[in-house]
Symmetry: C2
Subunit: 286 residues, 2 copies
């Protein structure tokens, strides 16, 4: 797009890991862009200001009025409530979100007169930590960003989204929101549930923290890493992507039972075959 206009002011709503990292990246490499932060949590405001992540903090409506691009970086349940209100106030601005669940969001604004100004985006980057103190440069680099249902988004807004997320170092993919949510359940959301479950299983059994700590070098640490993730983010994800997550959980439980049956039945050939099958993940994960 030759007529792409780089925004003068970007409003970042929600100063968490994602919003904070976006602000940090913009601040470091595009200091000419004004970053207006919106955040209700006083501790997060203080932290974001101490880290110099934002030019200033404003109330939601002022931030929208004074920006060309609005990135909504709140947890999915908050975003679901906020998104129609942001669009109500966005007379000319582009609006994007970053949630890992997309179908409920595009449904929530499907009849909105300004639907075209909204780009449903999912930058697939994160860590197990949250809040502006966890923000970091390079978080998005070389990761995937999914745009959903772009046929309902104005071309100029899609072009701006491409510029923005490519600027963060991401490679872009497009898919239908419903497909996105199904894939995300399998390739991201379930990993969090298995980590939470592993942590709860071990914490209940190993009353002595010292034993876990001493023995955790055997691969446990990377497998359980995601169990540090925030309930405020993941409980809404599981709610909003409920059907897909129940589907993947039932499949996972079935595959887990295959392992249990092979071990309990001393069926070593079946056990080795299950492991060999899973080794094929080698081809797709570096």
């Amino acid at each position: 797009m030759n007529d792409l206009k780089i925004p003068n002011s970007i409003a970042v709503i929600g100063m968490g890991l994602i919003g904070g990292s976006i602000a940090m990246e913009l601040h470091a490499y595009k200091p000419s862009i004004e970053i207006i932060g919106v955040e209700s949590n006083e501790i997060h405001i203080d932290k974001a200001q101490a880290l110099g992540l934002v030019s200033r903090i404003e109330k939601l409506e002022e931030a929208i009025n004074q920006s060309d691009l609005i990135i909504v970086c709140t947890p999915p349940d908050v975003t679901l409530e906020l998104l129609p209100k942001v669009l109500d106030n966005a007379s000319h601005q582009a609006v994007m979100d970053v949630c890992s669940v997309k179908k409920p969001l595009v449904q929530a604004v499907s009849g909105h007169p300004r639907r075209g100004r909204y780009l449903a985006a999912h930058p697939m980057a994160g860590t197990e930590y949250s809040g502006p103190g966890a923000a970091k440069i390079g978080l998005f680099n070389d990761k995937a960003c999914i745009f959903c249902d772009t046929e309902n988004t104005d071309e100029k807004v899609v072009a701006l989204g491409k510029w923005f997320f490519r600027y963060l170092g991401m490679h872009l993919t497009e898919m239908e929101a419903a497909d996105h949510d199904r894939h995300a359940a399998y390739v991201s959301h379930i990993s969090h549930i298995t980590s939470f479950t592993l942590a709860n299983t071990v914490l209940e059994k190993e009353k002595s923290d010292q034993h876990i700590f001493t023995l955790a070098s055997g691969g446990f640490d990377s497998t359980v890493r995601l169990a540090k993730s925030a309930a405020s983010m993941w409980s809404p994800v599981f709610q909003l992507n409920k059907d897909n997550i129940l589907d993947v959980l039932d499949n996972y439980a079935m595959h887990l039972k295959q392992f249990r049956d092979a071990i309990a039945g001393n069926n070593y050939e079946a056990l080795a075959a299950l492991i060999h099958k899973s080794n094929k993940i080698n081809k797709v994960i570096k």
Copy 2:
């Protein structure tokens, strides 16, 4: 121990990830020690020699005869068979193994006239890769090594084991073999089963590898990493630690069901509580 005698020759039986890494570390930092490798797989022999991991390759009996210390680094089922034979031939040498299952091994040699020369050791280090090509310097550094049932091992052999594994950079812990196997099931073995299961669930559902690859930046990659691990190692671990593993699997399935029930029943408070509980892993895992 003031009279500790550093071995002139060490036999490393099994040129896999662990045996290869031990040989590599000795070769790099203690070149005066002769390393005699024992390996039946021709490809592994060639690789170990190409990497300069061993002074020479010998048949098992010659390697034992010509060494002061024998480290058995074969998979657990092979070690279980090999260990009594190694002790049969060890007229004066110290013998150690590195398996992640200990009780079947100490039971297998409990009546052996040379039981005292055997130290049951579990250096808790590894990666998801196997074979001598995966060997690396620093693999053991700052990881835990567990010695089991040392009351049945000669003091001089325990002292040699302490020197050896500390030399590799490990911190040492002692426990009963039965306790070790129970802890290992919870803190190491289950992580492999959950990773294998996650890989099988996703591979079956996501027929297009490209989708997994594109979307895997959302935490999936670290959670599924262990699914690359070798069946030749892990199938015997699951067999030999069967009772403990079935116990942890049943507990894990119960905790998984708690998540499923909370999601299916729209019980968001219970869901958040389960996540908050699991976040306590934060205290013990860095």
